[in-house]
């Protein structure tokens, strides 16, 4: 960490009105008044060239009588996080918007608007997260609202919008090509897609509120693992790391190695799953069956190491619950050899089919400048020329002891995203061999686990889909505020640009190429079309109608 660079940044931030500055590990915490927020954000985003990670609101009225809003930025080149905090009074929570400077902050602000009742001046506001007939004035994340309040559910859904001069194809919420409930409306002219309306959010289960009320610190590990079934261990590790950072707990080295081993096993299984589903969506069912046949030993390996095929449940704050002995190590190395050999043959065969090459090349292109403005993460960013990987830039767990390559391609089309994932499988196998070789001896859980109150921490991990951010403010016995931002949340607005001009038959593979995990996302978005706005009137008495202004 470059201390001179941090000093320089702090002086510049102070000159622009920041106060209350403190530095802990790799994070700089600042506070600022709400009228100076926009100029500070412009400096951080444009001149320091930081990426936007997330923003979250918090109800701090029991502590200091105000509502607070936290914006989190990240500087990957220097390995830093910057957290900017503003306040608003409790009877009139108004904040200035930063959406014109940072387009990626759109839904985070609307989520705070829905769940906490914040007003953002200078932008159009709409209902995002809660169902359409949720009673007005009931904000679930405020501290006085109980977590198990249940208004009467309605069984009448909304109607499809019917614009008159353009054909609309509804996909979902239950469709043979999808495995999760989500709703897309593709507007097409002839065979080309011109615009997309997306309404998701069928998977909002109230996780953040549950983590603040009924659950204790050690129980939230199991809750975080079930945010997503495919990349669950990443969320659990990220939460544990945030609490350990805030409480300054020393985790033993052997536990860090075991966590990294299980993380890489999860990455291999997730990428193999994706390659199979992509082959199925392209029509190549043989490829789907063979890829999942090769993936099965990886699931048996996970069961051998942790006790369950998915949702492993071995993380605790301060370490892990299960150990790896010599016989398991030997079996793991055998399985890895088999998987590497078979997947290499299969990937070569798959990429030599001329129809697949033709369908994947030059479709769904995401140019580099748009990718930078929207702060996309993961394989989507690496396929568009942005060189971002949390395992190398802000190393966590045992990644500082291994070396590996980060594959980056420049084209930004569907083929590049497939190649990035295939390369990452082989890199993961290489990392696993190094980790299994170097694992040190020692205890697997820390001795003394005491968590003091009123500390903050930000922690990042690299999920198979991108970067994952967890933000924790500790309280007594359970967190005071826990904010999760999953990687698919940042990647879905890129769909608006990728689906523009694509043939209708290529739409499913383009949507699947960002590897969306809607249960991680659990938000709704209304995609706007270059400045023209959709008015999605969800509280309309007829159940919802949308009148697009112009198409």
């Amino acid at each position: 960490m470059n201390n001179d660079y941090i000093e320089k940044v702090i002086t510049e931030l102070k000159a622009r009105g920041a106060s209350d500055i403190s530095v802990s590990h790799d994070t700089i915490f600042v506070s600022v008044e709400s009228d100076k927020l926009r100029s500070l954000v412009e400096y951080i985003h444009n001149e320091l060239d930081c990426y936007f990670r997330t923003c979250g609101g918090c109800d701090e009225r029991p502590i200091n009588g105000f509502f607070a809003l936290y914006h989190i930025f990240g500087d990957d080149k220097h390995g830093l996080n910057i957290v900017v905090k503003t306040y608003a009074s409790s009877d009139d929570p108004k904040f200035p918007t930063i959406v014109d400077i940072v387009p990626a902050a759109d839904w985070c602000e609307m989520e705070a608007h829905d769940l906490l009742g914040f007003e953002f001046t200078g932008r159009r506001q709409y209902r995002l997260v809660l169902p359409p007939n949720w009673p007005k004035g009931l904000y679930p994340l405020r501290k006085e609202v109980p977590y198990n309040i249940r208004p009467k559910p309605s069984t009448s859904g909304e109607q499809i919008s019917k614009p008159t001069n353009i054909a609309a194809i509804p996909i979902g919420p239950y469709h043979p090509a999808l495995h999760e409930p989500e709703y897309f409306e593709l507007y097409i002219e002839g065979e080309k897609v011109v615009d997309v309306k997306y309404r998701g959010f069928h998977v909002h289960r109230g996780i953040e509120k549950l983590g603040e009320t009924r659950m204790t610190y050690q129980q939230i590990n199991f809750l975080a693992e079930r945010i997503c079934g495919i990349c669950g261990f990443v969320h659990s590790t990220c939460y544990c790391q945030a609490v350990e950072k805030a409480a300054r707990i020393d985790v033993p080295e052997r536990a860090l190695f075991i966590r990294s081993i299980v993380l890489e096993v999860e990455r291999i299984h997730s990428h193999l799953l994706w390659v199979g589903v992509a082959a199925h969506l392209l029509g190549y069912d043989t490829g789907f069956m063979h890829t999942w046949r090769i993936r099965e030993p990886v699931m048996v390996l996970a069961e051998l190491l942790t006790g369950s095929r998915k949702t492993y449940g071995i993380n605790l704050i301060g370490g892990v619950r299960r150990d790896i002995d010599e016989s398991k190590k030997k079996k793991a190395l055998e399985f890895l050899d088999i998987v590497e050999r078979e997947f290499k043959t299969l990937a070569d065969t798959l990429l030599s089919i001329p129809q697949i090459k033709k369908r994947l090349k030059e479709t769904g292109i995401l140019p580099k400048e748009d990718a930078r403005k929207l702060s996309v993460v993961g394989p989507v960013a690496r396929a568009s020329g942005l060189d971002r990987d949390v395992r190398r830039d802000l190393p966590y767990a045992a990644y500082k002891y291994v070396d590996f390559n980060v594959p980056v391609y420049d084209e930004g089309d569907n083929m590049a995203r497939l190649l990035v994932r295939v390369d990452e499988v082989f890199e993961s196998i290489k990392i696993l061999r190094q980790l299994l070789d170097q694992i040190p001896k020692g205890p697997i859980i820390a001795e003394d686990i005491t968590i003091p109150e009123e500390r903050m921490a930000v922690s990042l991990t690299e999920a198979p889909r991108g970067e994952n951010v967890h933000f924790v403010i500790t309280g007594r016995g359970k967190p005071y505020r826990w904010k999760v931002r999953a990687p698919s949340y940042q990647n879905i607005p890129a769909l608006k640009i990728m689906l523009n001009g694509v043939q209708l038959a290529d739409a499913p593979i383009t949507i699947a190429s960002i590897d969306p995990c809607f249960s991680c996302t659990d938000r709704i978005l209304v995609i706007r079309d270059n400045g023209e706005k959709y008015w999605l009137k969800l509280t309309h008495p007829r159940g919802g109608s949308s009148c697009p202004r112009s198409l």
Partner: protein, 177 residues
């Protein structure tokens, strides 16, 4: 021809060689044994001879599948298999090792009542106000660990507070009430 050059000539038809090499991998479950390792976490078994009814497992269970239902004459420890997430945290925290993990996963049923298991405990009552305090087995366990607690264990917390305050008062007033 060697396999590599054959593969180059076939191109995309190499999938036929891959399929032939893999053969048939299906396991004919349920007529054959399933593919389960020794480490698998299945259903738990509560041993009614060791359980003392303290409720530590009910506190630690994330989805509240284990519940200690406090009635007037009995405390019932109820285990709902339908909501269990098979994390085995209850096994970690039980003080008497009364809960054991098994590898059972064949738990399907058409009747929801089949998924409840209960252990029924007798309780002791407060000698002053007759409210139920804890189970008989928990009392024996505490007395075996801390023998001086036998004097006040059959008082519930409110009555214990009253006794304690009155004994302080007695001491300050020299033993005269």
């Amino acid at each position: 021809m060697s396999e590599k050059s054959l593969g180059k000539k076939l191109g995309l038809f190499k999938i036929l060689i891959i399929a032939k090499k893999a053969g048939r991998v299906t396991r004919k479950y349920p007529f054959e044994k399933p593919l389960v390792t020794d480490e698998f976490r299945g259903k738990i078994e509560i041993d009614e001879k060791e359980c003392i009814g303290c409720g530590a497992c009910a506190n630690a269970c994330p989805p509240n599948a284990l519940k200690l239902i406090k009635g007037e004459n009995t405390f019932i420890l109820q285990y709902f298999i339908g909501r269990c997430i098979y994390c085995w945290r209850c096994i970690d925290v039980c003080p008497t090792n009364a809960i054991k993990g098994t590898r059972e996963f064949e738990l399907a049923t058409p009747d929801l009542n089949d998924l409840y298991e209960s252990v029924v405990h007798d309780v002791i009552k407060c000698r002053e106000c007759s409210k139920p305090i804890m189970t008989v087995k928990a009392k024996d366990y505490i007395i075996s660990k801390v023998s001086v607690s036998e004097n006040y264990i059959d008082l519930d917390p409110d009555c214990r507070k009253k006794h304690f305050l009155s004994s302080i008062e007695k001491r300050f007033s020299g033993g005269i009430e």
